[in-house]
């Protein structure tokens, strides 16, 4: 389980997280919605220790992410993250992108790593692209590759940071379908997204984020149909 307790974080003078608390259970899909620049993405970076925090704490399966004694490289194997910019390794083929961490981080043999990677790439529908370099893929394909790359490490948690925001509209569907599939398989997911349809249909809970705080959290039904806070209603009114 992921427990976020009263986390604060500033970039210089700008406080982007102002005491965020959130607990996500195994098997749960939590969507985080809210305007741009509200600190949603920063929160995800903090969960796997890519960003330090100023106060509060984050626990992943009881291990405090920002404690000095925590081996972040080890912890990160449990937490897959997919970014808005798809971040392929451009000098490696699709297969090599997916096997790199398996071999270097988990110490798998090339054969083992290939087998795992091919399975994951089939999962996201890229089995025909194994020898292709990312530069030759569409944005949607690159994003699906990034998902397969993260999944290959068999993480317990997957974090998605606006993974469809940089895609052409016609490519959004294929990526959302992949994520839906994952949710159906019971993956624990925190999904920062602007896709309200996805948040509504796939999530167990939806959190509304504004100005570095979670203003409201509840089932999709509660949030989309009976928002309790005027900020939530106002935001949903502007995007739906």
């Amino acid at each position: 389980m992921i427990e976020i307790e009263n986390v604060r974080k500033s970039f210089g003078q700008l406080e982007v997280l102002k005491g965020v608390s959130l607990a996500v259970d195994r098997g749960e899909v939590v969507s985080v919605i809210g305007g741009s620049g509200s600190g949603k993405s920063t929160l995800l970076m903090c969960i796997n220790g890519l960003e330090p925090i100023d106060s509060g704490r984050i626990l992943v399966d009881g291990v405090e992410v920002h404690a000095r004694s925590t081996d972040l490289n080890k912890l990160r194997r449990k937490i897959g993250i997919v970014f808005q910019q798809w971040n392929a390794f451009p000098h490696l083929t699709v297969l090599e992108n997916t096997t790199l961490a398996l071999r270097k981080v988990l110490g798998k043999s090339r054969a083992e790593a290939d087998a795992i990677a091919i399975k994951q790439l089939e999962h996201v529908g890229l089995q025909d692209k194994l020898k292709v370099f990312p530069g030759k893929l569409s944005g949607g394909q690159q994003q699906r590759m990034a998902i397969a790359r993260a999944l290959a490490m068999s993480p317990s948690y997957m974090l998605f940071d606006e993974v469809t925001s940089a895609l052409d509209p016609q490519l959004v569907g294929e990526v959302l379908d992949t994520m839906r599939l994952l949710a159906d398989e019971g993956m624990t997911m925190i999904v920062v997204t602007h896709e309200m349809g996805f948040a509504r249909e796939v999530s167990n809970r939806v959190a509304f984020f504004k100005d570095g705080l979670i203003h409201e959290i509840g089932t999709p039904k509660q949030i989309f149909e009976q928002p309790q806070r005027p900020e939530t209603a106002e935001f949903l009114g502007s995007v739906l």
Partner: protein
Amino acid sequence: MLDTALSLNDLRFLMLGAGWTLLITAISVTAGTLLGVLFGVARAQTPVWVSLPIGFVLDIFRSVPLLIQLVLFNSFIPILGLRATPFSVSCLVLALYTSAYCSEIVRGGVAAVPQTTRRAARSLGMTWGQDMVEIVFPLALRVMFPSWIGLTLGVMKDTALVAWIGVIELLKSSQILITRMPSEPLFILGIAGLIYFLISFPISRLGARLERKWREND
């Protein structure tokens, strides 16, 4: 045929000089590149209080004319009580000079790798070192390579300056021949120039070929 006093033996003498030129180039470029990678990564990845002093020292090597550096080192090393041949002084100075330029190339190359790509690598549990070896260097290499080829060619030609402290490389050998055959300086220098070209040309062709090959994948 061409009417010249230049004998086959003289040509052999020139080729011997060219051999020294190549050897000095190979040693100083290899050592300078290794040092340059070290300094460049240090400059790109360490806090200011480490990177600034390194940068300052390297700046000195970049801004003082090579000839002055050669003469100074050649004079100061014996003063310090150390013994060094002009050949080793040449290699040392050229290696430091190469490393100063190479460190800037490496710093720029490392900085050119997008932070987001590196985050992706770290998010998969890769260590700083693994990120450097598997992601940063291969990507930076494409950015650095053309400048590095330029640097290598430059250093190869700069080896001509070590003639000043008494190393008999290609330029010095041709000067010696000219002293013996004062009527043919242009012909002899022409041959020396041709040899420099024959050394440079394959290096620059190889560079261009590698670049083209890398571009095909992008």
